[in-house]
């Protein structure tokens, strides 16, 4: 009799404990425990060379934040999990974060992972803060999806706005713009938009848009077609490897006008290799830049927390800024912050000052695209580094 009472009592205690734990995970954040945030990022897959710095940047910011006491008196428990740019792994990660009661999920370097994760996260009222995406993630605004990277479609507007600036400086009233893009579905959409945009500005599309493969071996024919079109500028969209083949081929064919590319072709090594006449934009400053004071804090934190070797490109800065976004959102959300609360607080932030690490970030109920400006860079051989050739230029029409 005594042993059965003891057994019943033990079971009751265990049940109470289980219910308490379940209650904790459902609420997303208890008043006493840390804020729990998740990041799903490519740490071992095809884009890991950008994913690892991005994750390291975020982790460095959070480590530094926790060292100075966290937010609202609470620390941030950040969990970073590898998805290797695999959709299934990304979904597993999101489910895991939901089960653990994390109140927001950051990351997804490939947008198809974000696309697959958003419905699941929205069902659990957990916002996903990803890196770009197709138009249907933004129009109409998805309540539980935000982006802290520029949408691919916007790159044509950014480049054409830069061309507008340069053409005015050079006294070119009606610029002739050639388009030279990698042949992917997203870029075909971008090219269609660019073509419309060029026409709507009253400019001239120089020749037919030219396409090249994802891994081009030779683009002599495309380069010659562009030469025959006699452009004033070339709008390019390709990564570093493709840009090297394309720009070298253009120059071999005698095309010496400025070539303006997007952020995938903005690595320091590419800018250096292609030199004068090649310009590419970035959405976040590179850790190697020397004229942005806020980078000093980032670098110091990276040294302090053992992440200095990951400060290899602007993806580290992107991750660091993600940390800043988290801090600002949590401040606004308050001590007892849930997924829904995080979403509401983020949406209500308005303008976020990144201290020059990017252009001003803006968010509202009407737009969940935080990044709307880019900065253009070329190589400065005298300083032996990349230099900015513009301020933050709008990426909107």
């Amino acid at each position: 009799m005594r042993s059965s009472r003891l057994r019943a009592g033990s079971l009751a205690v265990l049940a109470a404990a289980a219910l308490t734990l379940a209650g904790c995970s459902d609420s997303g954040s208890s008043p006493d425990g840390p804020y729990r945030i998740g990041m799903s990022m490519d740490l071992s897959g095809p884009i890991s060379f950008n994913g690892k710095p991005a994750a390291a940047g975020l982790k460095t910011y959070i480590d530094a934040l926790n060292k100075r006491g966290g937010v609202n008196g609470k620390t941030v428990d950040l969990k970073i999990v590898d998805d290797a740019s695999d959709v299934a792994k990304g979904q597993v990660n999101v489910q895991q974060f939901i089960d653990e009661g994390r109140i927001a999920v950051f990351g997804f370097i490939l947008t198809n992972l974000a696309i697959s994760a958003v419905p699941m996260a929205a069902e659990s009222s957990v916002p996903v803060v990803g890196l770009g995406g197709p138009a249907n993630l933004f129009e109409p605004v998805q309540p539980y999806y935000f982006s802290y990277e520029l949408r691919a479609e916007r790159l044509e507007a950014a480049i054409l706005n830069y061309i507008d600036m340069v053409a005015k400086e050079q006294g070119i009233d009606q610029p002739r713009v050639a388009v030279f893009s990698v042949d992917t579905p997203a870029n075909r959409d971008m090219v269609a938009k660019a073509t419309e945009d060029i026409a709507s500005r009253g400019w001239i599309l120089a020749g037919e848009p030219q396409y090249m493969p994802v891994s081009p071996t030779d683009v002599t024919a495309q380069a010659q077609a562009i030469k025959e079109a006699e452009p004033d500028f070339v709008l390019m969209s390709h990564n570093d490897a493709g840009a090297l083949v394309a720009v070298k081929s253009l120059r071999t064919q005698g095309v010496t006008v400025p070539v303006i590319n997007q952020w995938a072709g903005s690595a320091d090594a590419t800018l250096e290799q292609l030199g004068e006449g090649y310009v590419a934009f970035r959405t976040f400053v590179s850790p190697t830049e020397t004229d942005v004071p806020a980078l000093a804090e980032m670098r110091a934190a990276a040294e302090d927390h053992g992440a200095a070797d990951q400060m290899v490109n602007s993806y580290f800065t992107q991750g660091w800024v993600a940390g800043l976004i988290i801090e600002e959102t949590l401040k606004a959300c308050g001590v007892d912050c849930t997924g829904q609360g995080f979403r509401d607080a983020l949406e209500g932030l308005g303008q976020i000052d990144t201290k020059g690490l990017s252009g001003p970030l803006t968010v509202s109920a009407a737009s969940h695209e935080l990044v709307n400006t880019v900065r253009f860079y070329t190589w400065d051989p005298e300083a032996d580094q990349a230099k900015a050739v513009s301020d933050w230029v709008s990426a909107r029409n």
Partner: protein, 289 residues
């Protein structure tokens, strides 16, 4: 037109080097090597390690790369393909697929996945060939390398004892062995030579772009086109095969646009194989029953 022709010739030179690697291994070792692309990439990464990461003198870089690649080639035969001797052809092909995966994994673990710029021995500058046609120093390097490789291969197989032995082993390994040809070492040499030429192609291609495993491997897979057109058993067929592919790609883009670039080579392969299944210079396989 002249500039397009020149561009096609420069492109053909790279394809010729890659096609050579495909055909050499098929001819000497009887293997359709689907790891050719991965081996191109590995060769380029090894070269980059010597040249860019360690910044060794160029003589050391070149000799070191050749030595490492030759050893890798030898090990590939001794450790993997020697044990598969006598197995059906499809087993050998599957083994090369496995080899490609292993090489990709090793490359990722060792060097990561980001694109790299290889240190240049000399600057890549424009070279005017005719008033209308310009290429670059590395474009000329590719053409020169192709001529040297094919010239050396011709002389080697025609006039050297070892070359004759390799031809004998390729024709009939059993008879060759009975004639005291060290067939095993012939196969080792075949792998070493194929990998070395593959590496040359990978390195020269990487100088026109950035070194990335995916990019160089893709070139390697495309390089089967000249081998198929010229004939998988004919080394001399690789040159015209490469020229046909280079011209088809370049003029395909000229007349049908950029999307035609990846398709025209395969269309040409289809046409050639429909007319002559063994390729333009390949040997007809006769099976006596």
């Amino acid at each position: 037109m002249t500039s397009l022709l020149l561009g096609a010739v420069v492109l053909s030179a790279i394809y010729a080097l890659v096609g050579f690697a495909w055909v050499l291994l098929n001819r000497t070792n009887g293997i359709l090597n689907l790891a050719t692309g991965a081996q191109l990439a590995m060769g380029a990464y090894i070269f980059n390690q010597f040249a860019t990461e360690w910044r060794l003198p160029w003589v050391v870089t070149i000799l070191g790369t050749v030595a490492v690649i030759a050893v890798l080639g030898g090990l590939t035969h001794l450790v993997v393909f020697r044990k598969l001797a006598g197995q059906p052809e499809f087993a050998l092909v599957i083994a090369t697929l496995g080899l490609a995966s292993v090489l990709k994994g090793i490359s990722r673990l060792t060097w990561g996945t980001e694109a790299r710029i290889i240190r240049e021995p000399f600057p890549d500058v424009l070279v005017r060939i005719t008033p209308d046609a310009t290429t670059t120093t590395y474009g000329l390097l590719g053409c020169g390398a192709a001529l040297v490789v094919f010239g050396a291969a011709f002389a080697f197989f025609r006039f050297s004892n070892l070359g004759v032995q390799m031809r004998a082993a390729a024709e009939n390994p059993v008879l060759a062995a009975q004639g005291r040809v060290a067939v095993d070492w012939v196969y080792v040499l075949g792998w070493a030579m194929a990998l070395t030429v593959a590496a040359i192609a990978g390195i020269i291609y990487s100088y026109s772009t950035a070194l990335s495993f995916h990019g160089v491997e893709t070139l390697g897979l495309r390089g089967i086109a000249p081998a198929l057109i010229g004939g998988m058993t004919s080394i001399k067929g690789v040159l015209p095969g490469a020229l046909i592919v280079g011209l088809a790609e370049t003029f395909g883009v000229k007349f049908f646009g950029g999307p035609a670039q990846e398709v025209t080579a395969w269309l040409v392969i289809l046409v050639v194989l429909l007319i002559r299944p063994q390729g333009l210079f390949g040997e007809k396989q006769v099976e006596r029953v």
